[in-house]
């Protein structure tokens, strides 16, 4: 335990020690360390707020004094005003909550469809070598084309309602989840599979009780990115043609040269994505409680 004795002398090790199980020999030292960690965290929050204030403040000032043209670049106060009008008086397309609900519906359905198909196909190909070898060139080819463009195709083939947006969102989600599920299945510890087989697991049990739980870490990691992609898919789908939704709102603001409207729409999308991210992290912590280090404790960018 020579590590323990040198730790207090070296500050860079002391901060890393946060991630290690508590082995604090000296409680006063430990609480001093906890205090310094807390102080550091407060500093980080303060600096974050400062960045926002400087950024938004200078944007507001630059546009107010016409250094840059608010007509092209929007203006924070204008964006807020826009959001307020939208909430109180509704948008050109109808009440605001309706637009949000439409986009949310497209996103969530697309996300679920894409994720379920991605996991299913990923597990299937991950478990079946022949299928994987047959399909891998096609999947690589499909993955290399810019898939948002498929939104245009879906707008033609599926019409301008819900279906085309769901399809666009789903296809974006599918590939990300598929690759992760496939990789996750491939990485399953062979010992665990051997153990389950000896214990009498048939193929179905092997898939549901060993392969999928083991691949879940990979799959859930992909879900974090995927929800954002589903939102992109839904909005892009709306840009290709729609009658409602936040994307359509942005599209019509752009048509009216309303930069503040575009920014207000973006803000709404960001809020939706953040809420969904929080929900997925909660889901992750619930599904993967068996993991030594629950997520959400480390720094994420």
């Amino acid at each position: 335990m020579s590590v323990r004795s040198i730790r207090p002398a070296r500050p860079e090790i002391a901060t890393v020690a946060k991630a290690l199980p508590a082995v604090a020999a000296d409680s006063t030292q430990a609480s001093a360390r906890a205090r310094s960690i807390r102080r550091r965290r407060l500093n980080v929050y303060a600096l974050r707020v400062l960045v926002a204030v400087v950024w938004i403040g200078s944007w507001e000032l630059l546009t107010r004094f016409k250094v840059v043209d608010p007509f092209f670049f929007g203006q924070p106060s204008g964006i807020l005003q826009k959001l307020q009008t939208w909430t109180t008086e509704g948008t050109a397309l109808g009440p605001l909550w309706e637009q949000v609900a439409v986009t949310m519906e497209e996103t969530v359905i697309g996300f679920v469809v894409g994720a379920v198909l991605g996991v299913a196909v990923g597990v299937l190909l991950g478990r079946n070598r022949l299928l994987a070898e047959v399909f891998s060139p096609y999947i690589k080819a499909a993955n290399s084309i810019p898939r948002v463009v498929l939104g245009a195709l879906f707008a033609i083939s599926l019409g301008l309602d819900l279906k085309s947006k769901v399809a666009t969102a789903a296809i974006l989600v599918f590939f990300v989840v598929f690759f992760n599920a496939f990789q996750g299945v491939r990485e399953v510890d062979r010992n665990l599979i051997a153990n389950a087989r000896i214990l009498g697991a048939d193929n179905r049990r092997l898939t549901t009780e060993i392969i999928i739980p083991s691949a879940l870490t990979w799959i859930i990691a992909s879900l974090h990115i995927s929800f954002g992609l589903a939102l992109v898919g839904a909005v892009v789908g709306e840009l290709f043609g729609a009658t409602a939704g936040v994307g359509e709102l942005i599209y019509s603001a752009e048509h009216n040269f309303d930069a503040n409207g575009v920014f207000a729409g973006m803000l709404l999308l960001a809020a939706m994505a953040l809420i969904a991210e929080a929900l997925i992290t909660a889901l992750e912590n619930r599904l993967i409680i068996w993991r030594p280090n629950p997520v959400g404790t480390d720094i994420k960018v």
């Binding site: 051997a194 389950a196 087989r197 009498g200 009780e209 060993i210 739980p213 993991r291 030594p292």
Partner: protein, 270 residues
């Protein structure tokens, strides 16, 4: 003598190496384990001990020769077998209770009944109170107990163990060895216990099989006529134990040296 519980006849096992070559892990291996016998297999690292267990369990087919368990040729996973792996093979996403209940459930017992049996076995291996823990919340020794209960709950007729205690500290290991003997004495299972530790082999087994440096084949088998029940911590000091140890070691030493020389050479070449 009655029919052996486990029999390997002239077994050869070759592997395809990643570089496309062929590696012979076992060559012309003959081995028999009588019903209810505790057989310890020793040999230098890489001599094919784990491979032998994979063949007996049906996880791998032999390239040549025949493997028979309970009188039948092995064609797939052997039913009524248990396997304790060298590395951790308990399922990290299942609680202790569900890990131990897995075997009966996979074999058709209802979840309720399987959990009831599992509780009994968890108590038997000294883990009562830890039913709801996940493996990462347990020590290495406790995880081994879970693995042991997980295998034994299915009441296997043959029990295969691959260096199960090699990762444990000496004290825990001696405890576990004694507990294994206690649990095994209540069953009539035949055991193949792989280890690279000759002392452990003699302390536990009725018979020790020495495998040569790879490609592995049987160099010799030795009766261990020490009385049971045994206390693993004390039996090492018995004159008879020391005598058997010396006898086997003189054979094993050559193989260990061969293996060591090879490793030195391949390390030098790399």
């Amino acid at each position: 003598m009655s029919e052996p519980a486990i029999e390997l006849r002239n077994v050869t096992k070759r592997f395809l190496t990643p570089s496309g070559g062929i590696y012979t892990a076992l060559r012309d291996l003959d081995m028999q384990v009588a019903p209810g016998e505790f057989n310890a297999v020793v040999g230098p690292t890489g001599c094919g001990k784990s491979t032998t267990l994979a063949l007996i369990s049906g996880l791998e087919p032999p390239s040549e020769g025949q493997v028979r368990v309970n009188g039948r040729p092995v064609t797939g996973i052997v039913p009524n077998s248990g396997f304790v792996f060298q590395s951790d093979a308990v399922f990290p996403w299942k609680t202790v209770l569900d890990n131990v209940a897995a075997g009966p459930r996979y074999r058709g017992t209802s979840t309720r009944e399987a959990r009831k049996q599992a509780r009994e076995w968890i108590a038997r291996v000294g883990l009562a109170g830890f039913e709801d823990r996940y493996p990462h919340q347990l020590s290495g020794g406790m995880r081994k107990r879970v693995a042991l209960a997980q295998s034994l709950i299915t009441e296997p007729r043959i029990l295969l163990m691959d260096e199960p205690f090699s990762a444990l500290d000496v004290q825990t290991r001696t405890l576990m060895e004694n507990e294994l003997l206690g649990l095994w004495s209540l069953t009539s299972s035949s055991v193949v216990f792989v280890t690279h530790d000759l002392e452990e082999a003699i302390a536990l087994a009725d018979r020790v099989t020495v495998i040569t440096a790879g490609p592995g084949t049987v160099k010799g088998t030795y009766e261990v006529d020490l009385p049971r029940p045994r206390n693993v911590a004390e039996i090492r000091f018995e004159p008879r134990f020391v005598h058997i140890y010396q006898e086997i070691w003189s054979d094993l030493r050559e193989e260990v040296l061969v293996s060591y020389e090879r490793q030195k050479h391949s390390a030098g070449a790399a």
